[in-house]
Amino acid sequence: MKRFLTNLNSIVAVLLAFVLVQMIGFVALRNPVRVNLSGRTYYQLSEKTLNLLKGLEHEVRVTVFFQEEHALHDDVKNLLKEYEYQSRNIHVEWVDPARDVALTKKLAGQYGLNEAQVVVFDIGENFRVVKQTDIAEMQRVKGIKEPVITAFKGEQAFTSAIYGLIQGDTPKVYFLVGHGEQRITDFDQMAGYSDIGTALLQDNLDVQELMLSGEKGIPEDAAALVIPGPSKRMSPIEVEMIEDYLSRSGRVFILLDALKETGLEPMLERWGVELRNDIVVDPENTLRGSDVHIRRYNAHPICMEMNSIVQFILPRSIMPPELADGSSEDRPSVVPLFFTSEKSWSEMQVEEPTAKFEPEKGDMAGDDRERPISLGVAIERGASETMLDVQIRPSRMVVFGDSDFVSNESMVGGNQDLFMSALNWLLEREELIAIAPKPIEEVRLSLSRSELRKLFWINVAVIPGVAMVFGLLVWARRRK
């Protein structure tokens, strides 16, 4: 009996001690201290991020869709750990798209994802999708199949996403319909615009279609108006509404197709766009003949970051005005964005079966040094730095000479990036928060083959050999 009681006493004591240990552990969990002893700042958060996280009041659910084998997996994980440590409102959930198929499907439906390796930031009513191309700078290297990661900019991407979410405002982008435009509600695999619509939603933009008949003007809440490839003439009243909106610091993105008259021409002319009734042919930069690959970009915020090829399909030229006389305050500044190659030309005889460069019939050569053929322009008016105290929002317009380049079929290469970049310039949504990317830290020792062999013998043979020798000595002594 006495033994039983002592045993019981011991068991209770041990159990109580266990509870005590868990309690201490819990207190420690609530008051974590995390120190980085290594001298590296690779995952160290910048001041900007720390301030943002300190004042974070929303619960942010972070869902990471990354395969464990992915090259960025560890970087993303280690970085998000720092975010989690800094704010209790950050909850990170890991979903491996290859393993958690059911959960991936469910969440992919919820967030409208169509690619793996993304990080979704969600504060309940709003979410933002950060793609792997936003997290790292990658470069294709000859001879290596996978792109090589050259810099890690996860902090920039994540902090911008959180910042954009808690800012709360979702700019409303209207897509004009009613004149045979491309439609974001069109899920056609070829011509539809649904993919770019989804991309806009993922970028925290509110997307809506707009029919002008029955409206008094462009809605007040419009952050931008996209006119995606109208194929029918608009009425002068509608064009007036658009121009009125544009003049009131509006933001308009026009995608024009070749051989289509839209009614927008007089307005565009007033804003300094020279339109030609042409198709641009570029035998140097084409795959099928009808497409034109753009490689030459002008220095403008829209195309600054462009490094992949953009494919336009049967584009028309969009040129800045020939004569830029004087620079009055009121004159819009028109900047060409990208040019076709020197071998290209603007073909005016579009009815003829074979395209041929005939300058006497009005064709224009692409190798003109003064006026290379451009396929898109960015227009800004009222952005003067000499304004007194009053800051007036400038009017901005972007005109591209093709609308098919972001249809569901053509979202290749840099097409979507170019579209988003132009839209972000219109919305003045350039990088929300700038944090310098971190270059990948790689160690490389210059060890010769013979040195390696020597080290192999030292590490794997000599040092264990010491243990063996001692062991044998002890054994011999014990035998005596």
Binding site: F18, V21, R99, V474
Partner: protein, 250 residues
Amino acid sequence: MGVFLSLLKKELRTCFYSPIAYVVMFFFWILTGGNFYWLLINLAHGESLTSASQWMFSGFVLPFAIPVIVPLITMRLFAEERKLGTLEALLTTSVKVTELVLAKFFGAFIFYVVLWLPAIAYTCFQIKLAPAEVTGFPDLGALQAGVLGVMLVGALYIAIGLFMSTLTSNQIVAAISGFAILIGSLFVSMYMAYTAQSQSIRIVGQYYSSFAHMMEFSRGIVDSRVVVMYLGHAAWFLFAAVRVVEGRRV
């Protein structure tokens, strides 16, 4: 204190006089040596700093080797004395059980530290070959954190092994139950931390997964939550061991 020191001295003597210690040492040193050699090969081809420093104390071999090695060290501690009957003799003296348990714990722990000494030798070779200021590797801060991590993991494992050894008079039983608990918990916590479906299970798994902790430590991160977890649980197992041994005194 004097009693504790003499107990510790006796413990170390027994440990370093047993051939099994050298067998353990031999195989573990082959493992750490091979692990470091593999790291060097990777470094010769170019390797990211994070993976390199993680390889130092973690990687694919060492986290699984430690739970195999530790029960071999600890199986002897109480089981042997119980079998030989020396434990009963010791308990009749004025020796405090706590002192006895701590002496045995630190005896095993010192041996465990000796097991890790070559890792420092490897680093010295490597620094001689390519100075750390040039390559950025090894990072001394990360090394310190890695050593701390290895020691914490070892302390907990040794405490568990020691506790297992108090339960039986058979060394083999002590060793095998030690393996079972350590390897089992390692894999279960790894499974929970990395592949479990439910988020809460993952959090619990990450809290207990020494594999995940070693990754963090070896890249220089010291987290108070993890340190408290190891020390607290090690202390608890030692306390349990004390109660078990005291139970035999009655």
